[in-house]
Amino acid sequence: MAGFPVGLIALVVVSGLIYLGLAHRLLDRLYLSDRAALAVIAAMVIGSFIDVPVVAGPVRVSLNVGGALIPLGLAVYILVRAGTAREWGRALLATAVTVAVLTSLNLFVLSPDPWQTGRDFLDPLYVYPLVGGTVAYLAGRSRRAAFIAGTLGVLALDGVDYFRLTRAGIPGVVAVGGAGLFDAVVVSGLLAVLLAEVVGEVRERLQGGPAHRGRPEELLKNLGPLPVKKELPGGEDRDEV
């Protein structure tokens, strides 16, 4: 960054720190510990610089380690960790619906240039995560399913691209997750979790607490006061529910 003005460096550093901090808090909400979430982010940062060529020819395909392989691995890990077949089913259904809705939006609603129809309300960069997150939350009903659908749903758009380019005989590059940590794949997965978190909190707030009816007894038992994470000096910093 040598040679750049201080204000510009501050802008880049502050924006980057906030993005990474938010990413850490959101990954923390999945099946990851604080340290594991930090390791995943570090791996994504480093992996952002590495592209793995996959297909040569007129339509070249490459996979970015930070923007595609790690998010994909994380989504698969979360899916494997999902306890029930029902959660599996929901996550995969949410992914399929996300791909269908995003492809429909792209083909039938959004204009060839952003902001050209008069119907656009948000930049496409944010439309994918918002739609992906909303659909994923509705169909998946959990932040984990939201992450899986948000990530895989946007990743799958590259598959659609490859198919369209090959069929039309247009040379091109499908650089899956090529923008690394700043790719729509990662942004989408993270925003989907954020959305699930906010919607979940609002919903619980409106209904006066988590839903009880129809829930397994084991789950309800664990909805009681959370265990004390760490007793700090003074004994005042325990979780209160």
Binding site: P112, Q116, L165, G172, A179, A184
Partner: protein
């Protein structure tokens, strides 16, 4: 809620999303909004455009870009307008003020030098072409816009500036083009260029709107576009204004204006990023090449990089860094304000009260950062404990 109710609720919500999708797609659109041709090939529309007028009806600008209330426009004469009303294909504006930047005020940026001697160029819409010379307004993955970009890159090189021109195509020309070109922009940003340019051409049908004779040459004028939905907007807008101010002095009339519209245009990736529209599809490409070449002459002095006498490679040049712009600091402020406001809103929603939000924040900072906030002492028999 029973399982079946939940199932129907989810199904109904999905049906609503899909229904809205198709309903929106079939909404009646104005002539200006009709895109001609196959989406896959992204034909630029040729049958409509917006006219931007001031309160007296004077035409300020014409653009094929759809404009929205709240969009802003800095005209050639530096008057700064905001669009407040749209009637049909006419956007009516109010005058916000007059930009005071002059060619001299661009000089401080040049004084220090020091930014990396590298400019990055790419084309999000790699099909964009110039009908009179290219034979079509759209040539997928091989548009005439590449040749314009190449001439601009060559002119920069002749001025001692290193140029990274990534010619990766981003076909098809659809709403996802910016998602694809984001990857190109990020790759180039990893080399820390002094600025990133996304080169386009406009879709307004009147060639005369961009025609000009400047420095004894028939050229097209250029328009700069800055996206309003990006964290670096303030910094990017300052950069665009400084470019315009410098070029207004050197080549009066070359810069048609600065359009500040909705969108991100991947400008969140660099605080020195700008979208440049070099003429329109009905201009000749040779004209656009000349206009583009004159335009990039503004970059070295405004960025404080490369001179013909110092054709060294990428790396810091000059004794110190150029000064920060007001937009840089405004960007920092906005990012922090957004974080604080969003964080507080979330905490209030999740805890249900201001006190709850503060309590959770206190617990968070104590645990995660080891910061102990002073806590009001409560009596031991306080029933709340």
């Amino acid at each position: 809620m029973t399982k079946s109710k939940t199932f129907w609720l989810v199904l109904a919500s999905l049906a609503l999303v899909v229904g809205l999708t198709f309903w929106q797609a079939n909404l009646e659109v104005r002539p200006a909004e009709v895109a001609s041709g196959d989406l896959l090939y992204g034909e630029e529309r040729t049958d409509g455009y917006f006219t931007i007028r001031d309160t007296n009806g004077r035409i300020l600008d014409m653009t094929a870009r759809v404009v929205y209330p709240g969009d802003e426009f800095i005209a050639e004469d530096n008057r700064h307008y905001r669009i407040n009303r749209i009637e049909g294909d006419t956007a009516w504006t109010e005058l916000l003020g007059v930009e005071t930047l002059s060619g001299d005020s661009a000089q401080p940026v040049t004084a220090g030098g020091g930014a990396r001697n590298l400019v990055a160029i790419y084309n999000t819409h790699s099909d964009e072409s110039y009908t009179p010379t290219d034979g079509s307004d759209s040539i997928p993955a091989g548009g005439g816009i590449y040749k314009v970009g190449e001439v601009m890159a060559e002119r920069l090189r002749s001025l001692g500036v290193q140029v990274e021109y990534d010619k990766r195509p981003h076909e098809p020309h659809d709403a996802e083009a910016y998602r694809r070109s984001r990857r190109t922009a990020v790759k180039m940003a990893q080399d820390a260029p002094a600025a990133i340019l996304d080169i386009h051409r406009d879709g307004v049908p009147q060639a005369s709107f961009y025609d000009a004779r400047i420095a004894g040459e028939d050229v097209t004028r250029v328009r700069l576009v800055v996206g309003r939905q990006n964290a670096n907007m303030g910094a990017n807008l300052d950069f665009a204004k400084r470019l315009k101010a410098y070029l207004d002095e050197k080549y009066p009339g070359l810069v048609r204006g600065i359009f500040i519209g909705r969108g991100d245009y991947n400008q969140d990736i660099s605080p020195r990023s700008v979208l440049v529209e070099v003429g329109t599809y009905t201009n000749g490409r040779d004209q656009a090449q000349r206009g583009g070449a004159l335009f990039v002459e503004g970059l070295p002095p405004v960025l404080g990089i490369g001179t013909a006498a110092s054709p060294q490679g990428p790396g810091p040049v000059g004794p110190g860094a150029p000064p920060s712009t007001r937009g840089d600091w405004r960007g920092v402020l906005w990012v922090i304000v957004a974080l604080v406001a969003g964080g507080i809103a979330f905490l209030v929603i999740s805890t249900g009260s201001w006190q709850g939000a503060m309590e959770r924040l206190r617990r968070f900072t104590t645990r995660e950062w080891g910061l102990g906030w002073p806590r009001p002492q409560r009596k031991r028999d306080d029933p709340r404990r």
